[in-house]
Symmetry: C3
Subunit: 317 residues, 3 copies
């Protein structure tokens, strides 16, 4: 694994498989009464979130603490990020404190790669604009492998705003890397151009085409994109045309959503509440997959074989 | 004690007495040079505050840390709580990380009870709308018992905005449970209807009626309720009619306030500064009572007897 | 050293020299793989920041954690500081939790001294209005001593908004205490009156007068001070007249800036990026100097000699 995780394509199929096995070991830790290991004691993780986040920020913070690292969380609000300092200068300052990892979320695509040029710390991209969100892809892969089965040969359909979604972009790349067939379904205004070639997916504007999928991945509809003169004319029309509900699913199809959910918009209220979806497992797996990534980047930089044995020790404590 | 603490009425008189004894043990810890015990090492507390708070949020965070727990604090600002995710979905996400306790403050009455349906974690209500604030009641009981004496037979008068105050609601129930006589004094617009029957208190609109009280509990006046056409016509008139000052007290009466204080509104400036009030002890006791509650919910779920001995170990370390 | 650090003038030359030696020991810790010592285990540091901050707040938080203290950070936003509680009442509340140190940043000069009257904790002024920022002065002294050489006899020129800068005020006092000659250069509207006498510095309004300086300390230009009818008519004019760039420096001059930087305003973009400046070392040293101050205030209150040996133990662990 490289020193940083900026995109899911930074890792190959074998590395993904190994990370998911490491995550499985942390799942065992979570089943214990005391859900904490000393693996990263004395290490420092800086979370730098320029965009609002609950689940990603919280799961990284908790992942770090359960590995016994010290975690500093900096949010855009209430920091001098508000004073308009450049990303470069902010990263140079934080890098000067010699953290082990910088976890960065930023509104601009490429921000995390840029940040990586100014620090020796490992950088984890926790979402940069509409570009990438690699730990989301990893947790999605882990969730499907665990709850549905081997990914190779599955069909995963992403539904909704493909064009603006880093969840979709990283997820598509991740599922394809692991051998799944991927298709995308959404209104023409929310599909990237030439998606067949650029993303290697089947493309449809007809929600009925999710019928073939084993997994239906529902994307958050950003409410600010909807309204007269915008990409989607109205919330009601979007829900009627592309909202995913029980009526549009066949038995056995599994539904995913990265959250936060707009109930009644991209997903029907009662479907969101259906315990058969993978939504709650996704959240739970987010923490253990992030533990695995943090562990991999910090504790085992020399290579996979040492890594596995070190984890053996770690989780035995 | 139940698995959660949603209202002061969740515990009975014996359980309150036991919690206050546990708090006393933590008072001893606070008298040490190193004010920390390993009791909750490896445990996770998630503070979820939808409303602004300094003292409650900080005292829970510090209580958790001094018990050696890991504490994650999520504020409404800067989290995806701003994106309008439902309380249910937020709680489901956080619950998926398997915390030991969720401490929740929310602007809506009943929010904590609702949250409790979606998590196996213990839930502590840190204030839900105008409904309840049980740890405030516990710290108030602890403070009076310690600084004034046995609560049974005391007379406690709550002054001000009774109708909108969770501090009053929980305090009234708590003091009555422990055997105090409780009365309420305030302008007619700020008294709940039928308070005599519904709350079991004496009711008066005349500030002179605090004369009989041993303890005068001054409630924060929410400034947004005052002004032409609102529940209280003017700040000046409220201060003149119901503001508590030395001139309105007789010797020996003790004054409480849950903070934050509006100096010169519900309480005179020089009274707020009088070291004879219980205001600063209330703050200090807030932390140790919250330590006791966290300890009780996490470390000793099986019952009171084990609990006490475990605490004996805990504070001996 | 006194119980608190409210201004750089609270310490004398010998104490500064000792603190910088302690900081050097922590520099050694930062060179280790595990950058953490158990020195302040069980101690509590409360960071109370009424003003936005990234570098100061983060470096204090990380300094505390790397000393193994528990750190609570309270920002103005999202706390009841927003409800308008008085500083006195906020401090009384926090003091009631018996922290070891309160680190306070506040928009008003004198706020930290005021706070110190209401707590037994040590108080560290992390910036109060335009008054003082003593840990900034200490880290600046440390940086110059390490990167440039002995301060005694050096010439340091502060450039820009001297009148409103706590960085300048503390820096001037600190450098003069250690034997440097200090001059200030800026537009007449941004120079304090009678600076020669009150601050003991040479005064100039001509940027060419930085030519004699060994160190050029560029001050942040507060953008809200610029515009028609304000202290500085325009950003462009300020940059042209007082902006520091390579063209205005002679070889060997070293440039400092406390950050955050306004690139292209008080400092040219390419100068800000020049690795020969002291800007990044200042940031890095901020953390270790703050570790030294925290250590000194908490772990070694009895005196310097014990202190040094205790640190010997601390960093040996």
């Amino acid at each position: 694994m490289p020193r940083s995780l900026l995109a899911i394509t930074d890792v190959d199929r074998a590395e993904v498989a190994r990370l998911l096995r490491v995550a499985n070991r942390f799942r065992e830790v979570m089943a214990r009464d005391i859900k904490k290991v000393p693996t990263l004691r004395g290490r420092t993780i800086v979370n730098l979130f320029f965009e609002a986040s609950t689940r990603t920020a919280t799961s990284f913070e908790l992942a770090g603490k359960r590995l016994s690292a010290d975690v500093i969380s900096i949010k855009g609000k209430g920091s001098s990020l508000e004073k308009g300092e450049s990303l470069k200068d902010t990263v140079l300052t934080l890098a000067s404190y010699a953290p082990d990892v910088l976890v960065i979320r930023h509104q601009s695509a490429g921000a995390c790669a840029l940040a990586g040029r100014y620090t020796d710390a490992a950088v984890i991209n926790a979402g940069d604009g509409k570009h990438a969100h690699p730990t989301q892809a990893l947790l999605d892969l882990y969730t499907v492998e665990r709850e549905v089965g081997p990914i190779d040969g599955l069909h995963v359909a992403f539904v909704g705003d493909i064009a603006h979604s880093r969840v979709a972009r990283s997820g598509i790349a991740g599922f394809r890397m692991m051998g799944a067939k991927v298709s995308v379904v959404g209104p023409p205004t929310l599909l990237p151009r030439h998606a067949e070639e650029s993303l290697g997916v089947d493309v449809s504007t007809d929600i009925a085409d999710i019928a073939d999928a084993d997994v239906v991945y529902v994307l958050r509809m950003q409410l600010e994109r909807m309204g007269p003169g915008r990409l989607v004319p109205s919330l009601r029309e979007y829900a009627a045309t592309y909202g995913v509900s029980h009526a549009r699913l066949r038995p056995g199809q599994r539904v995913m959503h990265a959250g936060p959910i707009n109930r009644g918009v991209e997903i029907a209220d009662d479907l969101a509440d259906d315990p058969g979806t993978l939504i709650v497992p996704q959240a739970a797996n987010g923490m253990i997959v992030r533990m695995a990534v943090l562990y991999d980047l910090i504790a085992a930089p020399e290579g996979a074989s040492e890594q596995r044995s070190a984890l053996g020790d770690a989780v035995a404590v």
